[in-house]
C-alpha cells in the first residue's frame, strides 16, 4: 500500500516535471493540486532541485491562497529560508499571516533577525507581542512547540453556547476536539472534549462536563519536548495543555506535532548511540564538512583511547614476541567483548529512554548482566577452547589463557556496559552517549590488560 502511494507520488511528480519542462504551467499546477500539502511541499523541493528555485517559486505562487500557507509550512526550514529570499516582502507577510501560529513561529525562528523585524512590523500590535513571547521560549521546550490557538470556554457556559463559540472560532484553532476552561485570571480550571459536548444535552453546563484541572496532566512551558512526547506516548493524548509557573494556560500541544518530535528525538538518540553529533538535517542535505564535524569528535576520542590501549600493548612486547600467536586472538577478544558490552548498553539506554528502567533498578540490572555474561561467556569460551586446541593446535595453557580472558572480558563488558548508562543518568548526562563507541574503546583497554596479565601469570612469562 505504501509502495503504491509512493509510486503514485512519483508518477505525479514526473508528470509535473515534464509539463514544467515544456513551460505548461497551468496543467502542471492542476496536476500538483491533486496531491495533499505534505506531498506538494516535497514535490516543490524536487522541482527546485531539477529545474531551479525560480520555477519552484512560480509554482508556489500559483497555488490557491489557502493551500500556499499549508504547503509552505511543510517545507524543510532550509527550503523556507531559500524561498523567502526569492519572494517579495509582501508575499512573505501574506504567507506568514495565513500560517498556523506554531508553524509561523517555526519559520520565524529560522529567519535572519532583520527579516523577522520587518514581518513583525506589519503584524497587529497584540499579535506582535505574542509572537515575541513565543520566539523567546528556549529551543526544544514545550513553549517552543505549543500553539496559542485553542478554544477556551467559561465554566458557566451551556453546551449550546460553547458550540456556538466553537463555530465562531473553530477555523483558527489548532484543534476543537479538546476545549479548555479558564477562570478570570486565565488559570486553567479544566478541559472538556467535543465528544462529551456532542453527546450531552444542549442545556448542560460546561462545568458539569469538564474534567477539573486537579485530574489533568499538563506541562510547563519550560519542560523539555522529550518529556512532552513521553507523556503523549504514555497516556495516548490528542492534546496537552501548557501552563506557565502561575498555572495560567499559555498554549496547547497537539499529537500531530508530537509525531514529528518523536521521530526527531529518536533520530538524535540513535545518532548519539553511534557516536555522531545529533543533527536533524537530512543526510543528503548535510555538507561533507558538517558530516565530518559531526563525526570527528568521537573518532578523535576513540583514537586517543586506542593509543592508550596501544601503549599498554607496547609494555607487553616482550611477552608477545615470545608467544606471537597470542596476537591472533586479540580481534576475537576485542570484538566479542566490545559487542557484548554494547548489547547490554543499548538495551539499558533504550529501557531508560522509554521509562521501563530507572536508577533504582541498578542492582537488578547488574545482577542480570553478570549472569547473562557468565552464561554467554561460558558457551563462547568452550567453543573457542575446542577450536584453539583442535584446529589451531595451540598448547593447553594458551587455550586456557584465551578462554579465561574471554569469559572475564564478556562478563566485565556486559556489566560495565549496563552500568555506564545508569551512571550517566545519575550524573544528568545523556545515557545515549554511553553506547557502542564508548563501550568498545573502554572494552579494548580492559581486554588487553586482562589478557596480558592472565597470559603472563598462566604462561609464566
Amino acid at each position: 500500500m505504501e509502495m503504491e502511494l509512493e509510486r503514485q507520488r512519483e508518477e505525479s511528480l514526473e508528470i509535473v516535471l515534464d509539463l514544467l519542462k515544456e513551460k505548461k504551467y497551468v496543467p502542471a499546477r492542476q496536476e500538483l493540486l491533486t496531491n495533499n500539502s505534505v506531498d506538494i511541499a516535497e514535490m516543490l523541493e524536487e522541482i527546485r532541485d531539477e529545474l531551479g528555485l525560480d520555477v519552484a517559486i512560480i509554482m508556489l505562487r500559483s497555488l490557491p491562497k489557502d493551500v500556499v500557507a499549508d504547503v509552505f509550512a511543510e517545507l524543510s526550514s532550509d527550503s523556507q529560508v531559500e524561498i523567502i529570499g526569492g519572494i517579495t516582502d509582501k508575499e512573505i507577510s501574506y504567507i506568514i499571516a495565513e500560517m498556523d501560529f506554531d508553524d509561523m513561529i517555526d519559520v520565524l525562528e529560522e529567519l535572519p533577525a532583520n527579516l523577522v523585524d520587518k514581518i513583525l512590523d506589519r503584524a497587529p500590535k497584540e499579535e506582535r507581542k505574542l509572537i515575541n513571547t513565543f520566539l523567546h521560549y528556549p529551543e526544544n521546550s514545550a513553549g517552543s512547540i505549543m500553539t496559542p490557538e485553542y478554544i477556551s470556554l467559561k465554566k458557566d457556559m451551556t453546551v449550546s453556547e460553547a458550540l456556538a463559540r466553537i463555530r465562531a472560532h473553530g477555523k483558527d484553532s489548532e484543534t476543537i476536539y479538546t476545549c479548555y476552561v479558564k477562570d478570570e485570571s486565565r488559570r486553567l480550571i479544566g478541559l472538556v472534549s467535543l465528544r462529551s459536548m456532542v453527546v450531552a444535552e444542549s442545556s448542560t453546563k460546561i462545568e458539569d462536563l469538564m474534567i477539573p484541572s486537579d485530574d489533568l496532566i499538563c506541562v510547563n512551558v519550560l519542560d523539555d519536548q522529550e518529556t512532552v512526547s513521553s507523556l503523549f506516548t504514555r497516556y495516548g493524548f490528542l492534546a496537552l495543555p501548557v501552563v506557565d509557573k502561575e498555572e495560567r494556560l499559555v498554549g496547547i500541544i497537539t499529537v500531530d506535532d508530537i509525531l514529528d518530535i518523536i521521530e526527531e528525538e529518536t533520530t538524535e538518540d540513535i545518532q548519539k548511540m553511534a557516536g555522531v553529533a545529533a543533527s536533524t538535517d537530512e543526510y543528503l542535505d548535510t555538507s561533507v564538512w558538517q558530516h565530518m564535524k559531526n563525526r570527528l569528535p568521537w573518532l578523535i576520542f576513540l583514537m586517543i583511547s586506542s593509543m592508550i590501549t596501544g601503549a599498554i600493548i607496547v609494555r607487553f612486547e616482550g611477552l608477545l614476541s615470545q608467544v606471537i600467536s597470542l596476537v591472533s586472538y586479540l580481534p576475537l577478544l576485542m570484538g566479542t567483548g566490545g559487542n557484548s558490552g554494547s548489547q547490554a548498553a543499548t538495551l539499558v539506554i533504550r529501557s531508560l529512554s522509554i521509562g521501563e528502567l530507572d536508577l533504582r533498578d541498578a542492582g537488578a540490572v547488574f545482577w542480570k548482566e553478570i549472569r547473562v555474561g557468565f552464561c554467554a561467556g561460558l558457551i563462547l569460551s568452550i567453543l573457542n577452547c575446542a577450536k584453539i586446541l583442535l584446529i589451531d593446535g595451540e598448547p593447553l595453557l594458551v587455550a586456557i589463557t584465551v578462554c579465561g580472558s574471554l569469559l572475564l572480558v564478556i562478563m566485565l563488558a556486559k556489566s560495565i556496559g549496563a552500568m555506564l548508562p545508569l551512571l550517566a543518568k545519575r550524573l544528568n548526562v545523556d545515557p545515549a552517549l554511553m553506547a557502542s563507541p564508548m563501550i568498545a574503546s573502554l572494552n579494548d583497554l580492559i581486554t588487553v590488560v586482562v589478557y596480558f596479565l592472565l597470559a603472563t601469570s598462566i604462561l609464566g612469562l
Copy 2:
C-alpha cells in the same frame, strides 16, 4: 514537570502499599482511584510484585465497573494472562465485554485457545464472527491493530441526522472526530470530520462536506504496522481507514495506538542495530536465559568472523615478529575503522527508516561518504603521524604504514558502512541488521589485510 508527575505517582503508590499492608482495602481503593487508568495499571503490577497476585486481584475487583476494563487494557500482556488465571470465567467475560474492541483482540491473542473458545461461546453470534475474523489477521498487520468501532454515515444524511447518529453510537466508538461514509456495498466513499460538521449548517448534506475517497489515504488490512505508523508521522493524521482488497471499510486505526507502535518499532530497530534479537518484553521481565538467547547469535557470528581475522594475523606472524610494534597500532586501526563504519551505517539506516533516503540515492551517498572518509581520515592520519614520529619515536616508514592504513581503512569503512544497509534494503533484508556489529567485524577483517599488505610492501619485509 515529568519528574513531579513521577514523584506524585510514587507517593500515591507508597500510600496504597502502606494501606494494603494494614489490610485497609477501602482507603487503598480510594487512593488508587485518584490516578488515571494507565497509572492504576502500573500500580497494580507493583502491588502484585510487592504483596502478591491475590492482593492485586482484590484491588482490581474493587474498582468501579467502567474503570476495570480500562485498567485491564493497560496491563502488560503477561500480567493480563496472570490475572485471568486468578479470576472467574464470569469475571473474565465481563471485563472482555467492557473493553474496547481493539484492546479485547490484543488480550484474546495472548490467551490459551481453550479460554478464548470459552469467551467466544458467551459472545453474541454476530460479535463472535467479527472477533474470529480479527483474530486471524497476521501479527503486526494493519488488521491486527485496527478497531471496527467507528462511526459510519451515509452520504445523503444531513449534518443534524449525522450528529444524532453520533450521539446514539458515539459511546462505543473509538473516535467520533472522524466519521466514515460508506455506500450500500460497504465500500468507503469518503470521510467527514466532526469539526466540519460542527462548523456547518445543520441542513448541509454529508456529501457536500465529505472528503471523497479519491483524495483519501487509506491502508490495506494486510499492510505492515510500520507502513501505517510512517503514514501517521508523514501526514499527521488522527485516524486512518483500513480497507480490504474489495475496498470495503473494515476498520480504523487511531493515533493513540500508533504512538505505542512507534515506540515498539523503534525499540526493535535499536535492538537489531546493536546485534540483539528484537523483543518487546521489558528488560527486567526478560529471563537471563532469554537475554542470552537474544544476544548469542550475533556474538557467535562475531566470534567466527574474528577467528578469520585471527587466521589472517597468523599468516603474517613472520612480519609481526620482525616489527612487533606494529601490533600496538592494531587497536587504533580496528577501533577507529569500526566506529567510522558504524557512524555511516547508522546514519544511512535511520535515514532509510524515516524515508529520507531510498535506493536511488545510493550513488550520492557513496560519493558523500568517500569524501567524508577522506577528510576525516586525513585529519586523523596527520595527528597520528605526528604522534608516532614524535612520541613513539618509531621510524618514518612505520608512521607511513600506520597512517596510510588508517586513511584507507576509514574511507573503506565509511563507504562499506553506508552501502551495506542500502544493499540490504535492495535484497529486502532489514537494513538495521547492517549496523555496528556487522560493520565492526567486517572492518576488522579489512583492517588486518590492508595493514599487513601495506606493511609488507612499505617496510619491504
